[in-house]
Symmetry: C2
Subunit: 182 residues, 2 copies
């Protein structure tokens, strides 16, 4: 199972399609959760090449530079990151690594028309087809990404109507629910 | 149930007791998770008064200022924050609000001598005594905080030996496990 954090196409608060900026703490938190729950690679997807340079600079420090000596645990996590210009290229890369096209599963805090509950996702994760979980930044994935994915995961429900988790929290909770270690 | 994010006493990577700096994103992510799962208040604990001023400035913007208009969802979450100079003062504040002394539950990525599994924590959360969950910043809570708490929660286990989640991820996962909505 692999993860993809998508910075384009995502929507802003008005529903317009934008390209979100890469946030350094997303890379750290999501890589640490991915390493903890055995998900890899962690694709960071943006078409902006100067943002690839930013990710490379972060990885240079934590995976190959002084940060790797200072905090080896951080190195292990951030080494899972692969930067990609688009989702199709990430899917193709993961398919090549696995020898099979992965099933894509989109996540959203406001999922209409979900076709996958968490129990079904756990079953899929234990199946033979590789899975690629897609997470959006900003106000979430653009509608075409949600429509074109193989599966639409049910939204995380808390104790009431409020559901505005950070993407860092959502990734952590979804990976924990898949592992189902209570 | 309430949360406390503790910046002192915590330990650094060498096990020395330090006071960690407040991180703005901790406030946002943990407040959003707390609001989603119905935990309040969210105590931010530091003895450094200039750090109280920093938290106040963040809350001024997001709860009472322009940020509240720009993103009302963020306002609802950050309004759960209460700044306190020490853990005993947070316990006293929560006891006063509840009319009963809360049980304190400490969390750690490396918990030796845990006396509470997640199923037992869920039962406690549904019991009559109020609960206060304690989370450490930096390299975790100082030994005396762990020893003096009423309960020591089992560490989150992933799929292997690696367990270096951010405190933001750990809070999210623990609140989700307590809610047990799969």
């Amino acid at each position: 199972m692999a993860l993809a954090l998508i910075h384009h196409p995502v929507v802003d608060k008005n529903g317009q399609t934008i390209t979100a900026a890469v946030t350094a703490l997303d890379l750290h938190d999501i890589a640490r959760a991915a390493k903890t729950y055995g998900a890899e690679p962690f694709y960071v997807i943006t078409p902006l090449l100067d943002q690839h340079d930013l990710v490379d600079a972060i990885l240079d420090h934590w995976v190959r530079g002084l940060g790797a000596q200072y905090n080896p645990d951080r190195k292990e996590a951030l080494a899972l990151i692969r930067t990609m210009p688009s989702l199709p290229e990430a899917v193709a890369d993961y398919a090549k690594a696995c020898g099979a096209r992965p099933l894509t599963v989109v996540t959203s805090a406001r999922m209409d028309g979900s076709d996958l509950c968490f129990a079904a996702l756990r079953d899929l994760a234990r199946g033979e087809r590789p899975l690629l979980l897609l997470f959006g930044t900003a106000w979430g994935l653009a509608p075409e990404v949600i429509e074109q994915a193989d599966h639409r995961l049910a939204s995380i429900e808390g104790c009431g109507d409020y559901n505005h988790l950070s993407v860092r929290s959502a990734v952590s909770i979804i990976l924990d629910r898949i592992s189902n270690r209570l």
